[in-house]
């Protein structure tokens, strides 16, 4: 205990009351943008044709790169969320991509997500590490096209002159608040090189 007028004297120790107060509770959160529209920006970062012979297939494959750009301070659940025991009961919304509109014979072969990173949140009574997507994450989606009519799997001329639609779902949070899940639809031309 600190004591008044203690110059020249030894301060004595007394039983100290415990207090949970560390500092003025932060009044942190901003109202935010309606729907969290600015929290994550989704865009097509690239479309690349992969030669069939290089990937060991008999049909052309296009790799679409979809970027999720998180605004500073925001994170979203990864494709395979891991809920820590401290948040038991939480029903996480995984980040996902699916085809919603396709020409005949076009199908998603694979979706490759980067590894999530650790984001420490402080809305719990103690800091909690969550495996999350944050900053910019790029998913690589391989789309297999129909075998071409002319028999040449790498024939650009024989690719379907069409677009596909991808739907990206995610749900983002910042340090204090969460925004409702969002679905963003991306229209992607398969005609990568033309």
């Amino acid at each position: 205990m600190l004591a008044r007028g203690s110059v020249g004297h030894s301060a004595h120790t007394a039983v100290i009351l415990l207090a949970a107060v560390l500092a003025m509770p932060a009044v942190l959160a901003a109202q935010g943008v309606r729907g969290g529209a600015d929290s994550v920006r989704v865009r097509v970062a690239g479309v690349e044709r992969l030669a069939a012979q290089d990937i060991g297939g008999d049909a052309p494959v296009v790799e679409i790169q979809v970027a999720l750009e998180h605004a500073a301070g925001f994170h979203s659940w990864p494709d395979e969320p891991v809920v820590p025991p401290e948040l038991k009961g939480l029903n996480p919304i995984a980040t996902s991509i699916e085809l919603t509109s396709t020409p005949d014979g076009v199908e998603i072969e694979s979706v490759d997500w980067p590894d999530p990173v650790t984001v420490t949140v402080h809305y719990t009574s103690e800091p909690l590490d969550l495996l999350s997507f944050t900053d910019t994450v790029v998913a690589r989606i391989r789309v297999r096209l129909p075998t071409t009519r002319d028999g040449d799997p790498d024939s650009v001329a024989s690719w379907p002159d069409d677009r596909i639609e991808l739907q990206v779902q995610f749900q983002s949070c910042d340090e204090e608040y969460c925004y409702p899940p969002r679905r963003e639809t991306l229209s992607v031309s398969l005609d990568a090189d033309r």
């Binding site: 205990m1 560390l22 003025m24 969460c178």
Partner: protein, 555 residues
């Protein structure tokens, strides 16, 4: 006394130029008593700001630098392979030479490196965001490929030592990290760099160092010895937490560590320093730095500090967070409020105004007004803060918290609404149905982590205050109403109060009318439909304090 001299005296604890620089010198060695090949001394503005002076340590372990300002500073002593040590410097200009000898200890390493991760320029060295976990390879070492578009990669290993990120002993070179450690730097020759963590290259130690003043009885020596004791206590506390977290302690257990943490040693250290301290400025500085230390402060010591330190003391400006913490830790809102108002009225107003103290006092008063539901004070403090200190952190927080023209805020009347109950959709709930009770509208969802973390506080509040006419209406933004049923029936939180499923969630008319764009959002409504409190004052531990004030006033 000239006005210039008077002003210098007034500002004594703050950095101020002087015509007679203080020469600080000594030795810096490693754990074995030998000089460390890469080692430095940096003098920062307290408690860890701008570097005012620095020097590399000579090959024979000697160093010397000059500080041409007076005030309170922090010296960091660092050496590759060692844990940095720090000490407070109180430079008045009266001491021409200060000598101190430093020995650094080797890093105290963790027993396991399962959680080892990398931080670097790719994530701006943030420890809480964007670290890259190291993956175990077939050779038993841990590694990660880091893609970079730059010519160099700077990085540190996280969760390898107990208390701080550390450098890689295999790096090509090092840069100072600003807090007693080093960042490893390597040249990048490909589009990515493989960073390998090899524990065999690290020499472990106990992490214990030593700083000895040649004249511990001098003002600098007295403050230095006190600061070392305080830092040791802070470091021990954080290491305890790190060890608990590494052993798999739950959040509840981590919380218990904090709750059980005995603040007595901190108060004893400050009391011992004060007991023989005749310099009034240094007494205030000791108290302010103790209050601002990131360890628990006991209420009695906080009240003592508020009694001892004049409200206009420039010492608060050394670490304004100490004022905020002291006001809250005092556990006596009347007393703290009087002190904060005295800060605003201080005769040293000009010195305080140009610093960060007045916004801190205003922010505390605004928060206090929120807890008490005093709308007149809210409006006044908000206008003052936003008007005079628009660029301060406190103003930014205040703007998020309160705005006179916002529809949903304390003092406003809750808009009318009519919503269907979750359990029985034939039953509707309207504003009129809630009249006569104190009701908290709680917007949430099972997909929302921060909402789940509120559950203990909501249940405690419901149990404690429902006999006094308090209840909760939870409004779910879930995708399916079954998600709510499952959460309540299968989990730990039954939420035994009223529920509503909000079709279209944040896009619903209800959400728009109540200005809910994200969750959790809480609105406390009084018996007559007046909004008593919103959001931050209703979250976490503050919920109980706010309810205890407002329900009492409603009754």
């Amino acid at each position: 006394m000239s006005r210039v001299i008077a002003l210098i005296l007034l500002l004594a604890p703050l950095p101020a130029a002087t015509d007679s620089p203080t020469r600080i010198s000594g030795t810096l060695v490693g754990s074995d008593g030998s000089p460390i090949p890469v080692s430095h001394v940096h003098v920062h503005v307290w408690p860890g700001g701008e570097v005012l002076a620095s020097t590399a340590v000579d090959p024979d372990g000697k160093w010397s630098l000059a500080v041409d300002t007076t005030g309170v500073f922090l010296a960091w002593f660092s050496g590759v392979g060692h844990r940095g040590e720090r000490v407070g410097l109180y430079l008045t200009g009266d001491e021409e030479r200060i000598e101190l000898d430093v020995r650094l200890g080797r890093h105290a390493l963790r027993d396991e490196f399962d959680a080892a991760a990398l931080i670097g320029d790719f994530n701006e060295f943030a420890e809480d965001r964007g670290s890259l976990p190291l993956h175990q390879r077939s050779d038993g070492l841990r590694a990660i490929d880091v893609a970079t578009g730059a010519d160099t990669l700077a990085y540190q290993f996280l969760d390898v030592a107990w208390t701080s990120p550390i450098e890689d002993p295999k790096a090509q070179r090092y840069t100072y990290d600003g807090s007693g450690g080093y960042r490893s730097v390597v040249d990048v020759e490909q589009s990515f760099t493989t960073v390998v963590f090899d524990p065999a290259t690290l020499e472990a130690g106990d992490g214990v160092g030593e700083v000895r003043f040649a004249d511990p009885a001098s003002p600098t020596g007295r403050f230095g010895v006190y600061s070392r004791q305080l830092f040791d206590l802070v470091d021990a506390y954080f290491e305890t937490r790190s060890r608990a977290a590494a052993s798999g302690a739950s959040l509840t257990e981590m919380r218990e560590i904090y709750e059980a943490y005995d603040p007595a040693p901190g108060a004893e250290i400050a009391a011992a320093a004060l007991s023989a301290e005749p310099d009034p400025d240094l007494r205030d500085i000791i108290l302010v730095t103790y209050m601002a230390a990131p360890i628990k402060t006991d209420p009695e010591s906080a009240r003592f500090a508020l009694d001892e330190i004049p409200p206009g003391s420039i010492a608060w400006l050394i670490q304004p967070a100490g004022l905020s913490k002291g006001l809250s830790a005092a556990g006596d809102r009347e007393r703290a409020r009087a002190y904060a108002l005295a800060v605003l009225r201080s005769s040293r107003a000009e010195a305080i105004r140009v610093g960060k103290l007045r916004p801190v006092a205003l922010a505390w008063l605004l928060d206090d007004a929120l807890v008490r539901g005093s709308t007149d004070e809210l409006e006044a403090y908000h206008a003052w803060l936003i008007g005079e200190y628009p660029d301060s952190d406190a103003a930014e927080k205040a703007a998020a918290l309160y705005a006179p023209d916002r529809l949903i805020q304390p003092g406003s009347r809750i808009p009318d609404f009519e919503i269907r109950a979750l359990d029985d959709p034939t039953v509707t709930i309207s504003r009129e149905d809630l009249a006569g009770r104190v009701v908290m509208l709680d917007f949430w969802a099972t997909w929302c982590g921060p909402c789940i973390s509120e559950m203990p506080y909501l249940h405690e509040a419901f149990e404690k205050y429902s006999p006094e006419g308090f209840t909760i209406l939870s409004l779910s933004f879930d995708l399916e109403r079954e998600d709510v049923d499952r959460f309540r029936s299968e989990g730990d939180w039954p939420m035994p109060w009223m529920h509503v499923f909000v079709e279209q969630g944040a896009e619903s008319e209800l959400a728009h009318s109540l200005d809910v764009v994200n969750i959790p959002r809480a609105i406390l409504i009084g018996r007559d439909g007046t909004i008593l409190a919103t959001n931050e004052s209703l979250r976490g531990e503050r919920l109980d304090e706010t309810l205890s004030h407002l329900i009492r006033s409603e009754n």
